[in-house]
Each structure stands twice: as C-alpha cells, then as structure tokens.
Subunit: 379 residues, 2 copies
C-alpha cells in the first residue's frame, strides 16, 4: 500500500490522481490532501478518503465546509499546505499549480519524503536548491509531467543513464495554425481551446505561448542534470510522442501514448511496475506524426524562458512569477497575448540578481509580480 500526500487535490492533476487511487484501492491510500479554494470538491474528497490531514489554503472557502470526518484534522490558512506533508506519507505528490508549490516541496524533501512532481515551477524557480537538497536527503524527485515522465521511461527510470540529448515534444498549443498577426489579437478564451490535452487554465495559456515548453526544458535540465545544450524542444502537433532521448550510438528512445496524464501519474507511483489505467490504447494505423522546429519569432516566450535560465541566480524564478502574473492578467482580458513576453522581459530587466535560497525566491516571486503590475499601468 503506497501512502500518498496529495498537494493540490482539486486541480486537474489532483483529480486524476484521485481517479488513479480509485482504480487501484488495493495499491494506494490517500493520507493527506491540500487544496486552495475549491471547497465543495475538497469536502467531497475529505469525506470519501478520510485522510488524517486535510488543508484548505483559502480561509474564506474553508468556512463554507460543513462536514469533516472524525478521522480528519482540517488546517486552513496560507501556510496550511505544509501540514499535508505528513510523516505518514510514503510519497508527496505535488500537484499544486505555480510557484505556491515550492515551499511544500522543500518541506517534503527536508522530511526525507520522495516527491512525485507535477509542479514544474518548483524546479524552474528553485531547481538548483531543490535538487541539491534532494541529493543530500537521498530523496527521489519523480517526474509526473508527461514529457519528463516520457524521458524517465526512455532512461529506464534512472536519472543516471547516460544520454546525448533530451528531446521534448510540444503540441504547439491552441494557436499553432495561425500567423503572428492573427495570434496577437486572440483573447484568452481562444487560447484555452487546447487541441490535445485537457488541463488547467494557466498551463493551457502557457502552452499557447510555448512558455510552458521553456519551463519544461529548464525542469529537464534540473531533473536530469543536463546543460541547456543537451535539451531540445520540437513541435509535434499530434502529441502522440510525449518526448524522446537520443543516445551516444545514434539510437533514439521515445514514449508514445494517448494524451492522458493518468499514465505518468500512476507510473510515478508504481514504476518500474505498470498496471492498467483507464487510458485508451494507441492505434497508429492511419495516423501521421509531424515534427517541426519552434518558430521563436512567433513564440518569444520560449527563448525568453531559456534566456532567464542561462542568466542563472533567481532569474528563472522571476521569469516564472512574472509569467504567472501576466497570464492571470491575460485570462482577465486585461492584456494582449504578446504583452505576456513584454511583461516578462520587463521583469527580467528589473530583477535584482540574488543567490537562490527559499527566502530570496519568495522575495523574487513577490517582486516580479509587482513589476508586472507596475508595468501594466504603462501599457
């Protein structure tokens, strides 16, 4: 029985973790959950799984909860998520969206818990610190993202397997068939129509800007201890190949499948063993797989993300936080599509270079968001 602390239980990934647990109740047990404000679903989950600990960050939402099972202790408030990283858990599944997941992941590693990581921002912002800490504590950081899980599978579930190049695939997002001029005028509602994957809003916008692929390249560098030049991204509109690894001899291994997060989620918990999922099997007959290079002019967020990583220190953190803030504004139709990279660029220019530690990252996060809001006034 694998005991899971599930951070972000009501989000897209969290709900799929829940359905994985429900599919194999003999294998998995949820010992704690945390969520932000979706109190109805949270209450349902709490009463269904009766976790020892449940945390709802948003205090106002927590007040609307009417029924708490006797087995469960409920925590609320901004830092309550840390309680969900409990001694009881075998693994912490970090499915919180955005920078907010970082402190809890750090806490989990400090407690010596293996982390199944669906929160890429943790590594983007604090990768160096997080990976160093994980090494010190002998803790495994197991990828849940479909691309990084694909790479993990291609490397036979070992971050030690030598490779020549990691090749991440990108669907190209909602706007892949439009020109730059057309894209410039699209509202968020258009960007949310992702062609292949069902995901949360923030990541779906990140797919449309391809900033998401930049985050993933950075995440891959940290997870697989690779310099930037050993990680590539390529557009593959069909999202059938989830990512690839090229080896020294010229062989390339790829992982393919129906686009569903349930495979990587379950595998992160059970690897190297594989068990049935509800995911349809792939049928390639009649299919065509296409590949093309990323158009950096059309998708300036992609090179911008990589540039922030090359700048080192806290710059990738600033890029990520500026993006989160800008995407929030785009989702509210307050800015245009290409204002997102403009705002990130501005934040990067104004960010003060700092060493990477949790305190500095928290500061950088707040400061980058403030920079975006400040710049917004001037747009």
């Amino acid at each position: 029985m694998i005991k899971i602390a599930l951070l972000g239980s009501t989000g897209s990934i969290g709900r799929q973790v829940i359905s994985t647990v429900e599919r194999h109740p003999d294998k998995f047990q949820i010992v704690s959950i945390s969520a932000n404000s979706s109190y109805k679903l949270f209450e349902e989950q709490m009463n269904k799984f009766k976790p020892k600990i449940a945390c709802l960050t948003d205090g106002l939402s927590a007040r609307k909860i009417t029924s708490i099972p006797p087995e469960t202790t409920l925590y609320t408030g901004e830092n309550s998520m840390l309680h969900a990283v409990t001694e009881d858990a075998d693994i912490v599944l970090a499915a919180v969206s955005g920078f907010a997941g970082l402190p809890a992941v750090v806490e989990a590693i400090k407690m010596g818990k293996n982390v199944a990581l669906a929160n890429k921002e943790t590594l983007v912002a604090g990768g160096e610190m997080v990976m160093r800490l994980a090494k010190e504590k002998g803790v495994k950081i197991i990828p849940v993202d479909s691309e990084h899980s694909a790479i993990f599978q291609c490397l036979n579930f070992s971050t030690q397997t030598p490779f020549k190049k990691l090749i991440l695939t990108a669907s190209g997002g909602a706007f892949r068939n439009y020109t730059k001029q057309e894209i410039a005028n699209f509202k968020a509602s258009e960007a949310l129509k992702h062609p292949n994957w069902q995901m949360g809003k923030k990541i779906t916008i990140d797919c449309a800007t391809l900033l998401n692929k930049g985050l993933e390249v950075i995440e891959a560098c940290h997870l697989y201890n690779a310099p930037l030049e050993k990680v590539e991204a390529i557009v593959h509109p069909e999202s059938i190949i989830h990512s690839m690894v090229e080896f020294e001899d010229g062989a390339v291994m790829a992982q393919l499948g129906f686009p569903s997060m349930e495979i990587p989620i379950q595998l992160a918990l059970t690897y190297p063993e594989r068990y049935p999922t509800g995911v349809p099997f792939l049928s390639l007959a009649g299919k065509t797989l296409n590949f093309k290079e990323i158009d950096e002019d059309k998708y300036p967020c992609f090179p911008l993300a990589l540039k922030s990583f090359e700048m080192g220190y806290n710059f990738a953190c600033a890029m990520n936080s500026a993006n989160e803030e800008a995407v929030g504004l785009y989702l509210q139709d307050k800015i245009g599509f290409y204002d997102i990279p403009r705002l990130i660029q501005y934040a990067l220019e104004k960010t003060e270079k700092l060493e990477v530690n949790l305190e500095n990252l928290l500061y950088t996060d707040k400061f980058a968001r403030a920079l975006v809001r400040e710049k917004l006034e001037k747009i």
Copy 2:
C-alpha cells in the same frame, strides 16, 4: 575485450560487424570468421584480423585463396562453419543468411556461447527447439535484427519485462506504392531497389513480399515468448521507428533512428552500454511519420508466414525453405512475384508434419525446396 566468432563475415551484416570492430578495436576482437564463397573479401579479412580459425564453406572458392596468415587455421567444406564456433569466443554473431545458419547456432548454444542473432531463419525454422536449448544451457539469444533490437531496447534489454503487445514496423518494401496488378509484373531487379535499407538480395526480396515481416513476427514470438496475438506488424514507410512495445498501462515505447544496422549490431555486443557509431543522428524536424495496416491481399506472403507458424511442428521451417528456394528462382527471373506465395502454399500443403528436431528440420528444408522445384515444372 569481447571475443567474437563471426559467422557470415562477407555478407551485408558481416561487413557491418567488421566495421563495428574496426571502430572500437579496444573493445572487440574477431577470433574466428566463416563465409560461403566470397573468397577475396574473406582472404582480406583473414589477413587483417588473423583469426585463430577461418572457414569457407565453398571448396572451389577456397582453392583460390593464396595467402593464409600463420595464426590462422583454414577449414573448408559444407560443414566447416561449425569450426568457427570456437571455445575462444565470448559471443557468436550469427550473420549467415538463411536456413544454413541453424546448425551452427545450435552448436554455439550447446557450447554455452551467447548468440547475437542476425539470422532470423534459425528461430523461424527451429525457434521452439533453439529457445528451449538456450534456456537449458543458460545462453542468451540477443537480437541483431533492427526490429527485434528495437523491442529489446524498449524492454530495457530484458526478455522478462512484461508487455501487452509487440509492434513491428515494416517499410512496405520496394513495391509499396504500386497496385497488385502492377506488382505482379515486376522483375526482381525492381524489387531490389529497397527505399530505406541497404541489405542483401534475399532479404530485400523478402521485404518486397513482406514475407520478411512474417518471419520477424515469428522470430519475435520465440525471442519474447509471446503468442501470435501479442505481436503485430504495421507499415511505416519512413523506417524511422524501428519497432515498438505497448505496455499494460497504455504507454508505448519506441526505438527510432537513422536506418542503419550498425546501431543494433554494436548494441548486441555491448548492451546495456552504448558507444558512438558512425551512424548519423536523427533529425525529426520537417519529417512526417506515416502508419498504415498491412494489405494482406497485396502481400499474401505475410499471412501465409503467420499461418505456417500457427500450424506448428515443422511448417514454419517448410515455409521458410520454400520461400528461400522461390526467392532464388525469382532472382533468376524464372518465376513471377506472386508465384512466390503460390510455391510456398504448395510446399505447405505437401509438407509432412514432423516434430521439431535438427534432423527433421534438415529433412524438411531439403524436401520443401524439392517441392518448390517440382511445382515449378508445372507453372
């Protein structure tokens, strides 16, 4: 230093083994070679590598050899190949074309030598016997064929990894863009223009008839202890994905690469380690990969091969030998393209059911060839 007994040193695979050895002289040593009749190249190889033992099957060709290095003992005659399976070798690389490789592979297994198998006919004709013997002797049968190597890589170099389905890819051969009526009139010279791979004549014809894919499905069943329903073949004209494995959870692993045998040859000798080859790296940008089902009406040899396997006993052996004979005739322009399946069908009908042992297989081989020649008179 890995000591190699190379059976079939002058053929297409044999020459690529030689170039692999030449690329890594610190890793590989050739301790014996065997060939059939290409005495010039054979003599060159003998004088270059000075193997302890060298065997040329064809006595007439052997008489044309002028220089034998003092380190080497030369054997000639029909059964001389068996001498090349020497005690000295760490691994026997069986790159002989056709049924002729079977006795030497059996000999190698009996001597407890691991076998890198590029001779698929060995398993097609005697798979049950060969795999049982290998198990008894604790000997590894390592695939060299690009498809089976791809599967081996997808299973992380273990025949014990559980899987749901093996999916072999087929280029579709030289006639893939023609109708059945057009194909019917093509001569062997047309069939020899394989679009993706540089190979020997016999296998190139087998690619055009897709009988080769039938042989590979049978080989995969034996190598990976799979029933026929767990092995599929799919047409993939670009030959970029060399084969795939589908797992219980819906994930599919695939091995891709530039179409060259040097990767699987070298990997069979060094796995799980990988070293540089001379093979160009794959670049997917701008590429399109297509997949379609095999048209069994256009390629009757494919279902015919599978049927012979389902019939059990010595029938796959008869199918294989009848095909070798028929392909020989097609290469001499003595029969048409669709006479190949007709002759195989005839041989299968007339073959007497026998238990699988070496003696019976040798008999079945000779008898099936005789049946083909007999039927030819009547065409």
